[in-house]
Symmetry: C2
């Protein structure tokens, strides 16, 4: 019998499908045809049915969907470690804002490439970005072959990119026109927050989201400081403010969502608001602990994000999973919350659903885009293996990812990046850092 020709077979691993049943195929294989998954099953069956010139050997490791970073500011890799351990306002005013005066299209493109290199290396195959000069983020992600949701940050003051707020709407609409329908780049609109955008501006941005059916992504209820500011300005909480403006819907991705009352979680559920949970950033900035176990019980869709590098300080979603699982256990004093499989689900299918990409990515099912990673387990810290979910969440790290496939294309093979000139990307980042150092005083 003639075997069907496909473009890639990934074989010889425990395949975690990350479907609702948490199916694991031991000694499984994934056949990839073009940008899509053709089949997933026992290796022998897949090899009987398909042939491929290109084979990725998992050699006993774990094959799983690529991780989804539901919230980051990619180009902030350039500011990683520029300052830490400071009160928020000192950190922003003395370090981040001065460093950001160095931003221009080229710097954002280069900083995003650096982030893409780090993400591909650590098994992230899709990220959701919010930053300035977002056309450059889109270009960089496309060039790196990394799936991305992109949206220009919008606020009431002049932007170094587009100038006055109304131009931000125009810029966002152009971004949508330029990228809608692209196989790996998805445009969005992204108001910064309710304390930096007037009600009228928030509404105008939502009109744009509705007109083009794109996600509406906003930092919401991130910290007690935000709550105090919004209460002072509007006499209500950020979520109440959005609800009263009629702006909460299934288009909304609410980043952080740390300071939520039970009633507000109920509003999220009713309005189908999705959440990007960023535990490490919330810890590092001392913002608080988002009530994620409560949200999940209520049926709210939650993805996992690293936030920007300046407040993390890496983009490693494996570590973020570990932290998420542990933080909520100690916060609720209940060791059974946020079990490993649920947390891995949050970083894969949960993230996909949060970004409105549930039909495309998040699990290894035929017809979905071929975004997958192979984790090497032949190392002391992953030996022996009793349970792959436990290993991925509690013991593995980004450096254990051996192969990364995005949209059917091998972006990393045996730890070698194939879509980027990594040395050139790092050299350029060092040059930019040297410029930044001239205007920002770094304390050591």
């Amino acid at each position: 019998m003639d075997r069907e020709q496909v473009d890639l077979i990934v074989q010889n691993g425990s395949v975690l499908i990350m479907d609702e049943a948490f199916t694991v195929v031991e000694d499984g294989a994934v056949a990839v045809a073009g940008q899509y998954i053709a089949e997933v099953g026992p290796g022998a069956d897949v090899r009987k049915k398909y042939q491929s010139r290109d084979i990725l050997d998992a050699e006993g490791g774990i094959v799983l969907p690529g991780l989804v970073n539901a919230h980051t500011h990619a180009a902030m890799t350039l500011f990683r470690g520029i300052a830490d351990d400071l009160p928020l306002m000192e950190w922003l005013n003395d370090y981040i804002f001065p460093a950001e005066t160095h931003l221009n299209p080229e710097v954002v493109y280069d900083g995003t490439l650096l982030a893409c290199a780090e993400m591909i290396r650590s098994g992230t195959t899709c990220f959701c970005d919010m930053y300035l000069f977002e056309q450059e983020v889109a270009r960089a992600a496309r060039d790196a072959g990394l799936r991305a949701v992109v949206g220009e940050v919008l606020y009431d003051f002049p932007s170094p990119n587009y100038g006055p707020p109304q131009e931000g709407l125009r810029y966002s609409e152009q971004l949508i026109r330029d990228w809608k329908g692209h196989p790996i780049i998805y445009p969005a609109v992204e108001p910064h927050a309710v304390y930096t955008c007037s009600p009228r501006y928030l509404e105008q941005i939502m009109e744009l989201a509705v007109r083009h059916s794109v996600p509406y992504i906003i930092h919401l209820a991130e910290s007690p400081g935000e709550l105090a500011q919004v209460r002072e300005k509007f006499g209500k909480t950020p979520v109440e403010h959005m609800e009263e403006l009629g702006l909460l819907s299934d288009l909304v991705i609410a980043d952080h969502s740390v300071c939520l009352s039970p009633g507000e979680i109920e509003i999220y559920r009713r309005r189908k608001v999705k959440v990007a949970h960023c535990p490490e950033s919330n810890m590092k900035l001392a913002s608080g602990v988002a009530p994620v176990p409560h949200m999940l019980r209520a049926g709210v869709v939650v993805g996992l994000g690293t936030d920007g590098c300046a407040s993390n300080n890496n983009l490693d979603l494996f570590q973020e999973m570990d932290t998420a699982a542990k933080l909520h256990k100690v916060h609720t004093m209940d060791p059974t919350v946020m079990d490993a499989a649920s947390v891995l689900s949050m970083a894969t299918r949960g993230g996909a659903a949060a970004l409105g990409l549930a039909e495309e990515i998040g699990s290894l099912e035929p017809g979905k885009r071929a975004d997958l990673i192979v984790v090497e387990t032949r190392s002391p810290h992953l030996t022996p293996m009793y349970n792959p979910y436990s290993h991925l969440v509690y013991a593995a790290r980004g450096a254990d990812v051996r192969h990364t496939v995005i949209n059917g294309r091998v972006a990393m093979r045996d730890r070698h990046l194939l879509t980027l000139d990594e040395e050139a990307v790092m050299a350029r980042a060092r040059e930019i850092a040297a410029e930044i150092r001239k205007t920002v005083t770094i304390k050591t």
Copy 2:
């Protein structure tokens, strides 16, 4: 001028001395003579004064003291991921205790070797162990070339190793006689906890510690469950109980110390009790958050530990540092506590001081034992670099360690382990796991 012959020069890196002044030598070098550090200084000066056949090139990376794991149960690597996310008693009774029936001298030796491989790979050069069959732990650490404080766990019930409690005292004394004076193995006595050791037994163990001047290491005030149990049994807290028995002194290392009142921190300070802080284990088991910023302000010596693999689930102190720094920020809602340099200090000189080894290790100063590591920084997630302390705590991981030197001996060079047959160690661990699987039902 003739140059002095040494055995090893580590050069071409930013050398973090981790002295009290937090001195950094840019383009520095460390000269190692035998088991000791001969000199640390600018590379040019060191090369002018010394010659060596063996050179380790840091190639622009970071050179720092090896990390000190202040509390672990090394052989529990064999139970990593056997069960997670369970109530404590179910986890212990249904998984850990049944798995531990497989323990014998050979299994503990092999499991400890596996832990040593992981620790050397992730930059740990000294660990403090508490387990059964501790003679085997000592042998394994010696064979792996890893510095270790070893002590047999002692409690009121019969031990699978030594039998009745009084034999535990004899076993511990033999351990002390066998290893006292060894260059890298240091014996200790280790009562398990105040709820598992009678007051009389705790006292007898202390007599042994005092007679031989060895550390007295005990799990103390680890969880609310322990507090309740001790209050029920003795009508007081674990720390009050130890204090009233007159057992708190500078010999004591109190592992965990999660549930402490301000008054008890003051007792620790006055009695010079040292602490091993294990944030990830405390989070995963939902034990609580130790008041470490308060302890440090009070002048209590605190080291950092991973605890055993079954409750972590790895031995990566880089990740533990990151978690420690972030956990205390969110717990106190103050982003300035536990800054990166202080946390790195806890994992190096703090750990050394906690284990009573401040004269020997913990910083890169002439006359100290040559325990050092080189961290590779030429990777996307460590580019650019503004501040090495920030990078080590917030962005680096164990996998970034390139070279590990312990007691003057290169234990890992360019990620290759030189003191262990890693493949054989992993193969043996898989065999043991297969045996364990026959008696413990693993849920996936």
